[in-house]
Symmetry: C3
Amino acid sequence: MKPIITLSTDFGTKDPYVGAIKGVLLSAIPDASIIDLTHELDVFKPCNALPFLKDTITWFPEDSFHLVIVDPGVGSDRIPLQIHSPFGWIFLPDNGLPALMNEWFPNLSFRRIPYLEGQPEKERSPTFQGRDLFARALIQQAKAKKGTHLGTPLYPDALTRSFDPTPSGMCRIWNVDHFGNILLGCHVSSPPERILLPDAPMIIPYVRFYQDVPVGNLGILINSSGWLEIFQREGSAQKLWNLQKGDRIRILLEGGEYKSL
Amino acid sequence: MKPIITLSTDFGTKDPYVGAIKGVLLSAIPDASIIDLTHELDVFKPCNALPFLKDTITWFPEDSFHLVIVDPGVGSDRIPLQIHSPFGWIFLPDNGLPALMNEWFPNLSFRRIPYLEGQPEKERSPTFQGRDLFARALIQQAKAKKGTHLGTPLYPDALTRSFDPTPSGMCRIWNVDHFGNILLGCHVSSPPERILLPDAPMIIPYVRFYQDVPVGNLGILINSSGWLEIFQREGSAQKLWNLQKGDRIRILLEGGEYKSL
Amino acid sequence: MKPIITLSTDFGTKDPYVGAIKGVLLSAIPDASIIDLTHELDVFKPCNALPFLKDTITWFPEDSFHLVIVDPGVGSDRIPLQIHSPFGWIFLPDNGLPALMNEWFPNLSFRRIPYLEGQPEKERSPTFQGRDLFARALIQQAKAKKGTHLGTPLYPDALTRSFDPTPSGMCRIWNVDHFGNILLGCHVSSPPERILLPDAPMIIPYVRFYQDVPVGNLGILINSSGWLEIFQREGSAQKLWNLQKGDRIRILLEGGEYKSL
C-alpha cells in the first residue's frame, strides 16, 4: 500500500520550497501519494494552524503521514517532534502548536525525532529543515517496520507553550474564509439555545442554515465542522462587519457545550 | 486500477475545505489519485464554471470521477446530482450549471444522488455538503460494481435553469486569464472569415498566431480550445482594453460556425 | 512503477490550462503521479525559472518527467526540446532557459522532440502547445522502452541564448520569497569570509542562522540551498529594504567560491 503524505505549510506556492520537499519524499518513496492541504498557513504564527489541522488531518486514515511546517525557529534548538495520532503520524517542530494540539486532539503521543542517517547537520541546513529534517524523519518512519515508533517519548508537559488563551466571554476570530465567512474560535459539541454578539453592528440572528436569512443578510450558525460562523447569505460577512483574523469579540452563549480557542 | 478523482471548487486554497474533502476521499479510497483542477471557480456563480469544465474535465478518461462544487444553495433543498458522461462521473448540486452543461456537453445522463449510507443528515451538515454529501456519493459510485449507475434518472427538462443567455450580436467575456488574455464566450467549430469588434478602442486584427502581430500589439485569434481570444503579444490585453469577466461586447462574425455562451 | 510527472508553469491556478494538461497526461498514463511544483513562474520570462528549477527538479529521481512551460513563443518556430538529466527528462521550448540550464546543471543532453503521432498540427494548436505538443512528447517518452532516447541530438551551442549576464561586482535579485526574504543570484559552494552590501540602507551582518540576529533585525546568510539570502528575523526583509525581483545591487565578497546568476 502506497503511503499517503499530506503537506501543510506556510511556504506559499510560488517559491521552490514545496517542490523541493516533494522531490525529497518521492526520491525515497516513489509510490507515495502526496497531498497538498495548504501552503498558506500563517507565517511566523504556528498556533494559528490549530483549527486548520483539526478540520483537515483528522479526516485522514490512521496510516497517513502529515508534514506540518510553520517554523520561525528553523536553525534554533527547538525540539523536532513526531506525533502519533489516530489519523496518522505528524511531523513538526516544537513551536507551541504541539502543546495546543494536545488540548484539542485525542490520543496523541509525542516523540522526539531521532538522529537521522544521512541527515545534513544543522550547520548544513540553517534555513530549510522542513526539507532536511522533517521530511527525512517522515521517510524514516514510513520505511520502518509496521508498528515501530521511532524516536524517544516526550511527556506533553515538556512541550513548549506559546498560545495566548482568550479571556472568558471573549471569542477569537480564527479565520475569515475565502467566502468572507467569519469563523469564531468556539467549537460546539452541543448547540446553545441563544447566541448574542454585543459588539455586532446589527442584530445577527442565530439560525441553522444559510437559507434561514434573506439574501444579503447576516446570520450566525454552527457550521458543518462545529465552529460558530458569522455569514452573509450569498455575500461576504467581512464586508459588513470588518473583523480580521486574530480579532476578539464579546460573545454570550446560553446553554450548550463548547470549547474555546 | 486506482480511481482518478478531480476537484474543481470555489473553496480557495487557504481554508480547510479542500483538505477535508481529500481526507474523506482517501479514507474511503486510499489508492485514489486526487487531482486539483482549480479551487478558484467564481463564488456564488455556478454557471460561470461551464467553460472551465469544458476545457478541463473533457480531457479525462471515461472512468474518472469529478467533484464540481460551487454551492451557494448548500443546506437548501436543491437536488444533488451525479452525471454520467463520456469523460467520467460528475458530482454537483442542481444549481443551474447542470442544465448549461447539457447544452454544451454530449451524451450526459443525469441522476439524482441516492440516499447515502452513513451520510450525515442535512441538519448535521448545514454548510459543507461538498464533504458530507457529494464526496460520499462519489465514493459510493466509485466502489459500486463496474457498470452500475447509482441514483434515479432525471430528465434534463427537470434541471434548474439560471443562466442568462447573451443577446445575438453580443458576446460575453467568460474569462480574463492569468496572462491578461480576454476569452470571449464564442466557441468556434469552423473559422469565420472576418471578425469585427465595434467596441474596441483600436483596430484588432484577426490572426492565427500570437506572432502575427508585433510585440505589444493586440490581436484576436481562435485559441487552441476553440474560443475567440483577444491577446496582446507578450503582454496583457486587459491593460489595453479594460474588460472584466461578465462584461458583454458587440461582435460581428462573417461566415464560420460557432456557438455562443 | 508508475511514472512521476512534475509540472512547473506560468499558467496560474484559476484557468483551465493546468487541468487540461493533467487530463491529457492521465488519459495516456492513468497511473501517473502528477506533482504540482508551481504554476506561478514569471510570465514571458523563461530564464527567470532557472533558480526555481535548480532548487526543485534536481531533488527528483532519475526516472522522473518534468514539464516546464513558460512559452511566450507558442505558435512560433522555436524548437521543442526534451532534455535528459540525472534527475529525469525535461520537456520545454528552446526559449533561452535550456541554454542557461546547461550552464548550471550537470550532465544534460539536449534532443529535439520528434514528430508525435496524433499530434495536432501547429495550425491546430496556435496557443497551447504545453498541452498539445510538450505533454504529448512526455507521454511518448514515458511509454518508450526503457533506455530509449527519443528525438534527435542537439549540440548545446545550437540553443537559443537570451539571458543577460550580471556585471561583475553586481548581484541580481532572483526572488523575494513568500516570507519577504531576498534571494540573491549568488550560489555559494564554499563560504566567503566577508560579505559587504554597499547599497544597503543599514549594516547587514553576515551570519549563519536566523537566530544570530535579534528579532526584527536584518541579516544575510547562505541558505540551505546555497543561495545568499537577506532576511529579517521573523519579518519581511523586503519591507525594510524595498528590493524587487530583477533588481541588481552591488556586492563585495572576500574569499569563498560562488557562481553568479
